[in-house]
Assembly symmetry: C2
Homo-oligomer: 386 residues x 2
């Protein structure tokens, strides 16, 4: 057979910075990053901002203007684009097209930056627009929620929804830098503050027993909105995600799976509730269900299973919801199991808990056992509420 073999590797690197008040003049973090990224070319920076963040931080745009007035490494595009926060910005391609039009209008080239300030949905949408403009403009992420600072914002995925399907359109494209500014967390609603912690519970349970123990010890402090444990939680969770990406298959070309313990049911419940239930809230319930299943299938002992549920309760999460209940084969969440299988390309892969700190994949879930897990959880929930 006559052929030429092509083979190469593309190296990627970026830093996830942890800071407070990124745009204060005396804060050197952003300036030092921009100064280190030298080039012969004139660089511009274009900001896209989550409307909810802009509303909670009314001086943000002025702060950015003042910051760049005093830091001339790059030229600030004075026009900034405000986009709706949450799934609304991903359910249409309107905002992607607005960013592309701005790239064209302002002559933003591949050596320039597009910076996104916002929650995970805004980062996903802006990251996608940056990835497809000029085959990839340098993208800076400034996540503003717990969920995006400890999980989605530090990763390599972007995307928008299509025809009601999450992330149907998107690419793998690492950012050039991530700036986690904890000042943004202070204005989050309680539900948002809490929701992101579900991803920390998830990754601790399948990867890091010590972190799980730390979470159990600090659950009530986190629930009380203490900043110091929140900072630790974000950094440890981000580190575990970053290690998973680098150590595995960053662009998921093989059959390697992302860290999605508790997620198969969570995706469905989020969607069924019309996104009234937050992703992190749904994940907490999904973790509870799969923990109960891991116990009932003989892997996890009862005490450990109960302690996981208690951690979720201490953090302030609901552990189940009528939409999450499995009564028979036709329960909506079972439909979610079929959709998840289809999404994976035919073969089901579900992460369960072999023991605390150790996830293990299975390729089949027993529906009657899932029913028992749902029942076990419901009883626990009722006892808890008495």
């Amino acid at each position: 057979m006559d052929y030429i073999q092509q083979r190469f590797s593309v190296p990627f690197e970026y830093r996830v910075y942890f800071t407070s008040h990124l745009f204060q003049q005396q804060n050197p973090v952003l300036r030092q990053f921009l100064q280190a990224d030298v080039s012969d070319n004139i660089k511009k920076i274009f900001f896209v901002i989550d409307s909810e963040v802009a509303a909670c931080h009314p001086t943000l745009m002025d702060d950015i203007r003042q910051y760049f007035a005093a830091n001339s490494e790059v030229i600030l595009i004075d026009d900034m684009l405000i986009v709706p926060g949450g799934e609304a910005c991903k359910n249409t391609d309107v905002y992607v097209h607005e960013i592309i039009a701005a790239v064209d209008e302002h002559g933003i080239d591949r050596h320039s930056y597009i910076a996104a300030i916002g929650g995970g949905a805004v980062l996903d949408m802006v990251g996608y627009a940056a990835a497809i403009s000029h085959r990839g403009i340098r993208h800076i992420r400034m996540p503003t929620t717990v969920l995006s600072q400890n999980d989605s914002g530090v990763g390599v995925k972007n995307g928008i929804n299509y025809n009601g399907k999450k992330n149907f359109i998107g690419t793998f494209a690492p950012p050039v830098a991530v700036f986690n500014d904890d000042h943004f967390l202070t204005t989050l609603a309680d539900r948002e503050w809490r929701a992101g912690i579900a991803e920390a519970v998830k990754v601790a349970l399948i990867k890091d027993k010590q972190f799980y123990a730390w979470l159990c010890k600090n659950a009530l402090a986190l629930n009380r909105r203490e900043m110091e444990p929140m900072q630790y939680q974000i950094k440890r969770c981000a580190q575990l995600h970053i290690d998973h990406i680098a150590g595995g298959d960053p662009f998921e070309k093989g059959s390697s799976r992302p860290l999605d313990f508790g997620h198969w049911s969570a995706h469905k419940v989020e969607q069924l509730s019309n996104f009234e239930i937050r992703h992190g809230e749904a994940v907490a319930m999904g973790i509870a269900l799969d923990t109960a299943y891991s116990h009932l299938c003989g892997w996890l002992n009862e005490e450990d299973a109960r302690l996981v549920i208690q951690l979720l309760i201490d953090l302030g999460f609901d552990i189940t919801h009528p939409l999450m209940e499995v009564s028979d084969d036709n329960s909506p969440v079972i439909q979610g199991l079929h959709e998840f299988q289809e999404h994976l390309g035919g073969r089901l892969t579900i992460m369960l808990l072999n023991e605390i700190g150790k996830g293990e994949e299975v390729h089949h879930l027993d529906i009657s056992l899932l029913q028992k897990a749902s029942e076990w959880l419901k009883q626990y929930h009722q006892i808890e509420q008495q």
Copy 2:
């Protein structure tokens, strides 16, 4: 400063196969590729075909159906999408959306394939649609022109045009395989057959003196449409491009440049002629202009410069065109120089010839010398035409 360092490499590999009559049952090339790419998942394959190729090869779709009826490694999506060939398919996002809709409708997942059969423009457009669907569906390229078989089709870029700007939207995304079937070349118009050879002249001049000598020796045979030298030309040119991609900066993240000797003026002339002048024809004229400049600036001796021009003439190319002439600062092609500089992000980088087989970059072109080069070429052209 508080940060986590992320660092990883993503490996890519694919083969560029050379074959004849890919869809004949006795041809094992495609079957062996599909059999080697094993997986637990059910795989589908969806074809997008250039309308010009479909017209020249009226049995193509039936051949594909019969081929897959007898080869059940993957499930053929019986619906195939026919799209216009040439820039028309890149000047709109209509066809990208048709492909995305097909991905949704037929449940084509990340383990499945989208195959494109056509010229470079169709491959660019389909490659882009595949790259952004589910963050990258496996993409197979089946280039049908000389230009796409020896150059664009074997590389890692894709894209569509936006607001009159070529490849404004796109990504870097390697295919999983390229199949160069020389049977498609037999139905090309003479202009198409010839145009692609310009890229071979380009890469030989800047990288491979021996290949340049081979081209000089075989120019008339290539012009007479002999298949054997065409096969050699394509394979050698593809190899040089593949080596350049692997050896350099495949996703062009740094300041590394693609192999674009002779291209700065070619892009502009193509556009000014409303794409009446083919890319390869414009590149041949661009090579002639930059060769003349390389001589007049003192790098290339006159005999070598004249031999390069003679090679282009032997291949059947026009060596200049009124749109290519530089009479003063306001000549349209000088406008192209400014646009090229802007496209590069502020700093001009132009490849010239230091000697035959050795390109060298400069960051400035002297307009009055360019005028002289244009005049030198025009005189040569006039003498040639007498």
